[in-house]
Symmetry: C2
Subunit: 471 residues, 2 copies
């Protein structure tokens, strides 16, 4: 064990400016312990000695020692003086040398993977202005712990908006604001499992793999419903003995087809007959280009269908704003899960979106973006028709993505994706979203909404350059 006071080690305590002398002494001692100059067990000099060394008052050193004892860097025992505590230094050093900041993923010049809107079109100025108005108008209680369902201002605005635009039949009391559909799926899964005895949920065979993982972690078994040109084959629900089903009726993701009228009716009839629950993921229902959008399935059977909407496509995924319109029988269970997950969604974004909707700015933004994405889809289909006529664009004119079916004899999708990556273009195959491998099912899922405006022409050119070689 070293005895610093007697060993004559020169500690070079550097007292940096700012924060007062005691803080400087403390900081210098802490640093010396951290970097190993003061090893565990080392006895510190008497306060009188160090004070004289440093040219500071003795009480200053005594106070600094007391602070560091309180924090656990030093120990003080009667008769043994003040010593460096065991292990206070080395661990801090190892942790500081630990994990490097992760890279943000590979960098591509162009990104046509699906799932993201055009982030460069986020209405920053309108959002900031609405936030300022919302902050000025909010009651104090908006900033506190509160109703787990979320702000009444937003639930009110959404209930009116969704009735008008999507034909949703609900009311503010039946809505729960969530941090994105990812959270919504977890809350619903756990609510169905814990309080409604659900065991099994059917999901569309095509879709994000993460959603299944989340439902399984909620304790549900997942079974797949095949998807064809009429959407998910809901006729299989009874045989699958499912207690619930997750559908994308307006625009199947990723296949891009709507659920046919017959199947809409069948899904509702299934729910009514056996008490099943339909979860309607209406992720891009506001974007349809060839006709008026098909209204929400929920409007047909509000007691059996959970409507799930989101701002992730209409505004930005980074907002993490989604909402559920719930059947009355499910409300309490979902609210309980929300409270346990994070109590309530962050309020300022909620108040801001409510203000945007109430002022009409949200409608204007959606209209602008509808035109924006429609033009992109038209440019995509025109360019492909000209330069890669063997490639078929399937699905309806809607949303932010298109399925590009490759002709027989085309190279494997994995090869195309890898070749595109070499040219700086990020692509995704349908196989990554549950599509079956093999010549018949070969397809790309192209997110034409993803690139920022300045990069769309280049992305399209890169895509056509790649696919024009296919005959």
């Amino acid at each position: 064990m070293n005895d610093w006071a007697n060993s004559g080690v020169d500690l070079h305590l550097e007292l940096t400016a700012g924060g007062g002398t005691r803080v400087a002494v403390e900081g210098a001692l802490r640093e010396a312990v951290r970097d190993g100059r003061l090893a565990a067990g080392t006895r510190l000099p008497a306060t009188r000695v160090l004070a004289a060394d440093l040219g500071v008052a003795r009480n200053t050193v005594a106070d600094a020692y007391a602070q560091l004892v309180a924090e656990g860097w030093l120990t003080a025992r009667q008769g043994s003086g003040t010593r460096v505590a065991a292990g206070a230094g080395a661990a801090a050093q190892r942790a500081a040398a630990a994990v490097p900041e992760r890279a943000g993923g590979e960098r591509y010049a162009y990104d046509l993977r699906p799932g993201s809107p055009d982030l460069s079109a986020f209405p920053r100025a309108a959002w900031a202005a609405a936030a300022r108005r919302a902050l000025a108008a909010a009651p104090n209680e908006a900033f506190g712990y509160q109703d787990p369902r979320g702000r009444p201002e937003l639930r009110g605005a959404l209930a009116e908006y969704l009735a008008r635009v999507r034909g949703v039949r609900t009311e503010p009391a039946l809505m729960v604001v969530c941090t994105g559909f990812v959270q919504a799926a977890g809350l619903l899964g756990r609510a169905l499992r814990a309080e409604h005895g659900a065991r099994r949920i059917a999901v569309e065979a095509l879709g994000y793999p993460d959603t299944r993982t989340i439902l399984r972690l909620a304790g549900l078994e997942t079974v797949s419903l095949p998807v064809d040109g009429d959407g998910a084959r809901v006729e299989g629900l009874r045989e699958a003995r499912a207690d619930a089903v997750l559908l994308t009726p307006a625009h199947q993701f990723p296949a891009g087809v709507p659920l046919s009228p017959t199947r809409r009716t069948a899904a509702v009839a299934w729910a009514r007959a056996g008490g099943g629950v339909v979860i309607e993921d209406d992720y891009d229902g506001e974007f349809r280009y060839d006709r008026q959008p098909v209204g929400a399935l929920q409007g047909l059977a509000p007691e059996h269908v959970v409507y799930a909407g989101t701002a992730s496509k209409s505004l930005a995924p980074g907002l993490r704003l989604a909402w559920l319109a719930l059947p009355p029988a499910l409300l309490d269970a979902v609210v309980a899960q929300k409270r346990l997950a994070d109590h309530v969604s962050p309020v300022i974004d909620q108040l801001t979106l409510a203000e945007l909707i109430a002022s009409g700015a949200y409608d204007r933004h959606v209209r602008r973006m509808r035109l924006h994405y429609r033009r992109r889809r038209d440019r995509l289909t025109a360019a492909l028709a000209e330069r890669a006529p063997g490639v078929r664009v399937s699905g309806i004119a809607a949303g932010l993505h298109a399925v590009l079916e490759l002709p027989p004899g085309a190279p494997p999708v994995a090869y195309l994706v890898s070749r595109a990556a070499q040219r700086g273009l990020a692509l995704q195959g349908l196989d990554a979203l549950g599509g079956e491998e093999g010549a018949a099912g070969q397809a790309l899922v192209v997110g034409y909404g993803t690139p920022p405006e300045h990069a769309f022409a280049g992305a399209l050119e890169a895509l056509c350059g790649l696919l024009s070689a296919i005959r």
Copy 2:
């Protein structure tokens, strides 16, 4: 089955203005189905007939029918005409009549329950200005799907701030931004259970019951550590065979005492010896009034201690902003849980807080609030000393709450709480936070930070009026 075309029923379709004729026809038909005027199975008039009735083009009616068939309100079968779908109306009506908007809880004139800062002091203008600057400066990718740990701007600002103010030893790569401590506890519990084989976590016997529930739902068994004047009795950790422990070292909630230096050292030694994990809930570490705050326990052993901080007390709970500084060995498991919970925390509030910290406005706000709460605590203790001298204010001068120990012979806490409620004052007994019932342990936990500024004097007067009767 009715046949409307032949029955001569006058349907009074009212075509409201706006949205075009087809939308008006659709809306009127939908409404008629909803309110039951068009019963299930009813056959609709031929398009030619209804068009003539309404004085609109036949195609308009045909398009409206097609839309409502697509949405499932109507069914169309060859040879059977267009009919109202089964069950489309009644269910919607029942759901709409369902759950009333919940009340915001009982209303009190004064609220001295603990857990909330003064919401009237939330810096609305500074927040709005910082949000505007942050929105203007953010890269596009900030609005997209991204690193589940949260914005690098905020993690960078927090790592620097926490090192400076709380002695936390971390780096941005080891931080995860969460939506409040509630979410953080869930993520940590599931990460410890799923990927580190933890089975049992020790928690302080005094604290929020919800935290235990969340840890138990994560699959962990919880065991209690008694709390005395030196904080949690961490000596019991080994015997409890705990894999982890959740502590409030700077200011035990609700007892109001700091963890003693000896116990700080013991907690770290326990973690080092057996690989246990300490979770440090530093919920109000910035508010200490009698001396410099004791630095974070995490600084002593960053490889064994998870530091958890929050903006819920320094700014507002409604922000739902908290952060973890993690040991490297726990990082991946917590990030995986965060991704499954909600992918990433909402970004605009993160960017705004980063901007507030970087600009110095956050430090200024905390200093202002420290003075604000210190003055309130001084007023509380002075008023009680004068008007209820038998009541002892225990715990250190810190945070937003104080424990008021009642003298022997005082009425039961439940009686006082109920009597206060009759007078419009909300109070909480220590028993609601795990305190033992009975004369010896009788105490109130008073949140002097809770009332808005204009109501503090009245709240204090109401409290003193109640307690002055106790001898």
